[in-house]
């Protein structure tokens, strides 16, 4: 391998990273702008962060988003896990292919269509749009993501673990909660986190299905930007980025630690 840093290599890396991160860096930089004008640098300041926390509208939207996210991710995780278990375990029931196709179709369904059809449904059954309908809509479209994540883990799950538990006297329900669930828990947690993130940044479906008093953060940001980008919005986005980045970093550190621990264990095992 040629390890020298040619001019070509350097420029492609710089260009690539600039393409990916320049917009985000700009956003973060301008969130610390003293000036009210978004595109003109007026000196360093954190005043927009302070005013952000006094912006009742934004804070309300954040609270709504958090609640929708937690509730919908939790319900979607339960339903998605059940669907994944059914699809992996009961491989011989009639219409299984159709059923599994239907569970995964929302993955590729355009959000506009999902949102519109849900809106039509809610109107048809006379459900008042608001917090409840947004949550319901988010459960619907995140459930299939959870099902995919959990199913991929279940495929490699060693069924003899469950047989061993039953052989040792544990009835099926007990076996599920004491053996199956703990073993597939990491996949369920990643499924939950995926569902939560998807709910957090959904704009399209939320716009269709939400009503007065249930404005989510992406909706709020979008509507404010249409009136002109304020540094306050930049600050809000910077905080969001920070939260996501910290989450990713913690997850990867935990993963790395586990990996190192596992290697150490295996070496110890070989020594006896």
């Amino acid at each position: 391998m040629n390890a020298t840093w040619s001019r070509f290599n350097i420029s492609s890396i710089v260009l690539g990273f600039a393409f990916l991160y320049l917009p985000i860096v700009l956003l973060i930089v301008f969130s610390f702008n003293e000036s009210k004008l978004v595109t003109v640098w007026g000196g360093f300041s954190t005043k927009w962060y302070v005013s952000l926390f006094h912006n009742q509208g934004l804070m309300d939207a954040t609270w709504v988003t958090a609640r929708v996210g937690v509730i919908s991710a939790t319900v979607a995780t339960v339903l998605g896990t059940l669907a994944a278990i059914t699809l992996t375990r009961y491989t011989r029931f009639k219409g299984r292919v159709l059923f599994s196709g239907m569970v995964f179709a929302p993955l590729v369904m355009p959000e506009v269509i999902t949102g519109l059809s849900l809106l039509l449904l809610f109107v048809a059954i006379g459900l008042d749009r608001g917090f409840f309908t947004v949550t319901l809509a988010h459960i619907t479209f995140t459930m299939c993501f959870v099902a995919v994540v959990v199913q991929s883990r279940l495929v490699s799950f060693d069924r003899s673990l469950e047989e061993a538990a039953m052989d040792l006297g544990a009835p099926p329900v007990k076996t599920f909660f004491q053996i199956t669930l703990p073993v597939i828990l990491p996949a369920i947690i990643s499924g939950w986190m995926l569902a939560f993130t998807l709910s957090l940044d959904d704009l399209v479906i939320a716009s269709f299905t939400s009503g007065p008093g249930a404005t989510t953060l992406p909706m709020k940001i979008y509507s404010q930007v249409r009136l002109g980008v304020t540094p306050e919005i930049n600050a809000a986005c910077t905080i969001l980025i920070a939260v996501v980045a910290i989450g990713v970093i913690i997850a990867s550190i935990a993963n790395k630690r586990r990996e190192v621990q596992r290697q150490r264990d295996e070496q110890a095992a070989q020594r006896g």
Partner: protein, 379 residues
């Protein structure tokens, strides 16, 4: 026939007509769709017996074990354990425990918790569980590994944890599915003897499934040879080896030479056979054969003597040429091509360091054997 008994002295309930069977497969059939895994099979296993189901993969031996454990229900027939019909009893209510081929240790529990799992399910008080777990750990010599998780153990240690977990509940019957399959050769040999000791110590009935004939021969009181969902022969290891009842069994266990032929003449004790190419041999042990019947004479390689000159006193001696010689250290294996074209495999123990009658490629050689050295097979 001369005695071909069991290895354990005074333990042969299968020869005792008054002995009560412990596990009974009664005309059991198991079908998976169109595939018949077990076909109208009947089998009896006795208490405290070490019983092996031996066969190639797909012969139905694992299905038989899984039906006993309760993971599969027979399509037809009954399975009785200690007189009780097991039909409809779920695995978690059966007094049998199983050691899985993959060990199936619970990855999120320590060794201790793994062993305690079954005891907790039956509601044993905590101090008793603790005592039993300690006893089990001592039994498999893993006391200092109690707090470890399965992935922190070596293959041999995992195997012992799986064993301890499956005997912790003191089941009436322990089922072992390829118990030593994942171990390397040396460890496997050690563990075979450990398993036998354990079975004696706990006084349990063991049913082991294996595809490894050496393993079955070493450990089992009796072996059932299975093929295509049916039992071909049930007998002690010595009987299986020395007195197989079919070509399949003779071929399956160990090496064997087969002489095809017809019964030419029957005397009181001996039978003269004419081979396909005209060679004449005289054998014993051909009780139920009529004159002119097509039969096979099966003889093990170590019962055949190879020499460079025709042995003076031999009843059966056939001439040929040395085709191949393999020196294996403890013994030497000869492949002799007889003058009628048949290949004969013979093995000689290297009792002396230097052979008195050295033979090498393309030498003329005589193979000879006693009339009672093999068996006559009709199927």
């Amino acid at each position: 026939m001369k005695s071909l008994g069991s290895i354990r002295r005074d333990f042969a309930p299968w020869n005792d007509p008054s002995a009560k069977p412990y596990i009974q497969f009664d005309k059991v059939t198991k079908k998976f769709g169109d595939f018949t895994a077990v076909n109208n099979l009947s089998l009896t296993i006795f208490e405290r017996e070490f019983f092996a189901l031996l066969g190639a993969s797909g012969c139905g031996k694992s299905t038989l074990l899984r039906m006993l454990a309760g993971f599969e229900e027979p399509t037809a027939g009954r399975i009785l354990l200690d007189g009780q019909d097991l039909r409809g009893i779920p695995p978690y209510k059966r007094p049998v425990n199983m050691m899985f081929q993959s060990y199936a240790l619970f990855p999120h529990m320590t060794v201790e918790k793994n062993i305690a799992f079954g005891l907790k399910q039956e509601g044993m008080p905590a101090p008793d569980i603790e005592k039993r777990v300690a006893e089990m750990l001592r039994l498999v010599k893993l006391e200092q590994f109690a707090k470890r998780k399965p992935h922190q153990l070596s293959g041999g240690q995992r195997q012992r944890v799986a064993l301890a977990r499956s005997v912790a509940k003191r089941p009436k019957v322990l089922l072992l599915d390829e118990p030593l399959g994942a171990l390397d050769k040396k460890l496997r040999e050690e563990t075979q003897f450990e398993l036998m000791d354990l079975q004696q110590e706990l006084g349990l009935t063991f049913v082991v499934v294996t595809h490894d004939q050496e393993e079955a021969m070493t450990m089992a009181d009796r072996i059932a040879i299975m093929d295509k969902g049916e039992v071909m022969q049930v007998a002690t290891p010595a009987e299986i080896y020395e007195a197989p009842t079919s070509r399949f069994v003779a071929h399956f266990v160990g090496n064997v030479n087969m002489f095809e032929g017809k019964v030419a003449e029957r005397a009181a004790n001996t039978t003269r056979i004419t081979g396909a190419t005209g060679a004449q041999i005289v054998v014993e042990n051909a009780a139920d054969t009529a004159k002119g019947a097509d039969i096979v004479f099966a003889i093990r390689p170590e019962k055949i003597k190879v020499s460079s000159r025709k042995p003076a006193d031999a009843v059966n001696a056939l001439e040929g040429e040395v085709y191949d010689v393999a020196y294996l250290g403890d013994m030497t294996v000869y492949h002799i091509k007889l003058d009628d074209g048949q290949m004969v495999r013979a093995s000689a123990l290297n009792a002396a360091r230097v052979s008195e009658d050295p033979l090498t490629w393309n030498d003329r050689a005589w193979v000879s054997f006693r009339p009672d050295a093999g068996v006559v097979l009709t199927r």
